[in-house]
Amino acid sequence: MDKMPAWADAVLVPLISILLAAILSALVILAIGESPTEALWLMIDGALMRSSGWGYTLYYATNFIFTGLAVSVAFHARMFNIGGEGQAMIGGLGVALACLFIPWPHWSLALLGATGAAALFGAAWAWLPAYLQAKRGSHIVITTIMFNFIAAAVLNYMLVNVLRPKGAMDPATAKFPEATHLPTFQDMFSTAENVIFRGSPANITFFIALLACVAVWVLIWRTRLGYEIRAFGHSETGALYAGISPVKITVVAMLISGGLAGLMALNTTMGEAERLVLNATEGAGFIGIAVALMGRSHPVGVLLAALLFGFLYQGGAELALWTNIPRELITVIQALVILFTGALDNMVRKPLESIFLSLRSKGA
């Protein structure tokens, strides 16, 4: 029998882990001579108390939903895709090429085209590590790490040597044409007398991210492919017995994962910067790991975790603006969340299990 109810494992363990991460983060803030409560208040104020703050929070959350889903899908097939960062970079390249070289008549068509390009490029970047894992047994964690660095070199080369407009100094593409500019939340939700989300980068891509959550949920829990992905993740020998091809599942799951990571570029590159810059991903590929771990690889969990990290990012930016706490505090929090939910989860789970066991024996 299970030692504790499924809901406790799914909800209590991550919640306690986050609590531990929060306490440690508060101690870090104290240690650098600032007040944790004031910091928290500043973060809430900057990220949630104004529509423009929400505009940033949701903008960041959009990135993290995509990368979190990417890591989750791979997790279901028991693969650790650390390559979200590289896949998102190459996805950005796809977006840039689609926006720059295809004369789109309207942003909606451009969005469709760029979505395809982003997913395709991201998936393509995940293909070789997946293939090598499936066919040659090359450890996917290592190959995807290597591919992150190779992606950075590719992007660097493309931006410096190929796509940089003549005479421009910084390694970036030209501005995308007007017709590819996506409607922001400000465009969509403001009225003439009441402007909301002013100047914030949240854009229509957020809704694509929500759609992606639904799509991943259907994929994993309602389709035959999802059944196979999860079965393979639980037991490779079982998959073989059932006629599920490990090679196919490994490759397909990674292609989906890479495609989702690539989609992130829609938000940063097409939605916000409107050109491709060198550091478009800003580590969001890695935050996907934290988001997937915290969200238990479930789209609802991923959405909630992505919103939390969106809040942390926006709040962290506010902190850096108004206090002496640098933005890197968020990196620390992110590290603690990954540590407690992904690596030290047994430290949390074991005591919980014994509590539930003793409760049960008392009840019995």
Binding site: R222, T223, R230, S235, G238, Y241, G243
Partner: protein, 514 residues
Amino acid sequence: MTDTPAIELKGISKAFGPVQANKDISIRVMPGTIHGIIGENGAGKSTLMSILYGFYKADDGEIWIHGRKTEIPDSQAAISAGIGMVFQHFKLVQNFSVLENVILGAEDGGLLQPSLSKARGVLKHLAEEYELQVDPEALIEELSVGHQQRVEILKALYREADILILDEPTGVLTPAEADHLFRILEGLREQGKTIILITHKLREIMEITDTVSVMRRGQMTATVKTAETNPEQLAELMVGRKVLLQVDKVPATPGKPILEIENLRHVDDQGVERLKGISLDIRAGEIVGIAGVSGNGQTELLQVLGGYCHATGDIRVNGTPIDLTGKESDGRSRRARGIAHVPEDRHHEGLILPYTAWENTVFGYHRDAQSGSGFLMDNAAIKAEAAAKMERFDVRPPNPNLAAKNFSGGNQQKIVLAREIEQNPDVLLIGQPTRGVDIGAIEFIHQQIVALRDAGKAILLVSVELDEIFSLSDRIAVMFDGQIMGERLPSETDQTELGLLMAGMTNGQEKAHG
């Protein structure tokens, strides 16, 4: 012989959560004897030995070694107390040499060279004394299973163990290797070593032990002198009631051949030929049992037939050949051709343990029309059908939402059986149908297999339990070293003849290889 036992256990108890693995166990083993501990799977033998070797701490009870009360908190303490253990699954470093494995943990000083030289000498001496020849410089991965086991014994002797525990030592051995092992054990007994032999094979107990203890459901039910007992009595003590050796069934009326296998060959990843030209027919309404010591190609045969292991040769189902290497050689294509498969290992193959029971009832059939339409699965329909299947196969508890890992072994097996039999296949492959299954479920499972036969299906049964082969099969084929040594009718053969075939001997002649 003195009166002080080499090992005495007093009232050992150990519980894992609600499961009482060992309950108030007491035994005395005199020095210079071989003491057998016999019991079914899950009777608590292994737990008891783990306590003796410091893997688990007993909740209650005392261990006395040579008349001294001894605490064994870890393996180091067991070794110091003179206990050596040969595990069922060897504890060897595969890419180390024999010497390195022997000295590991028993080195003299910080530098390796002196230890290696010393061990080389000791090993030479031990080899001569106990027939434990093995090349000290060979890597473990290059050695046969029998030789690897010798290394395990050498490890214990090198540590000057005078009490040697062997856990199911013959499970992986050929009969010839097993005989050699017994000669070694007899030699050790002559030198005054005390040996505890854990097994579930009555024959071994009768052949070599001086005294024997029987365990059942965590308790020691009896300790007797081997000379004063017989296999029937031990079997009864083991299972707690008369063993049902005969399954009720009418004589088979085989029809036309359904499954035809011709010259089947398989070479594994290491380049070892595991199937060396198997030919076998199975007709409608017939159970063909494959007897053999495990590891002689039975697993590979099932996997090839099940579609997830490549091979050469011919297999025909209902007269049409099936694809052995190409696109159609996977489990799904086999199922489409009417071959259902209850695999030997339900934990790693037959079930996805974290999946719910209902998800498991379509495992392997999840792409069929019965499981949904298009890309989607019809979870509600599967769940409803699962509840009905579980009802029909008496799965307890009949809750389709429970994860497979939460069912007992017997009920897990019933879930697999329900899934495969309800597909109404032409051919049923079934491996170790009752391994780790409680007695009550065994009868039910056997009845289901016979019922399927009576419905005119072809059934291939693989089992290492000779009793099971005898009671279920209409025809018996014996496998040894990737070949079929011979086919017999159960009415015209006996355990002795099959035992010889299983050992690779035909007409009293041992085959040249092996």
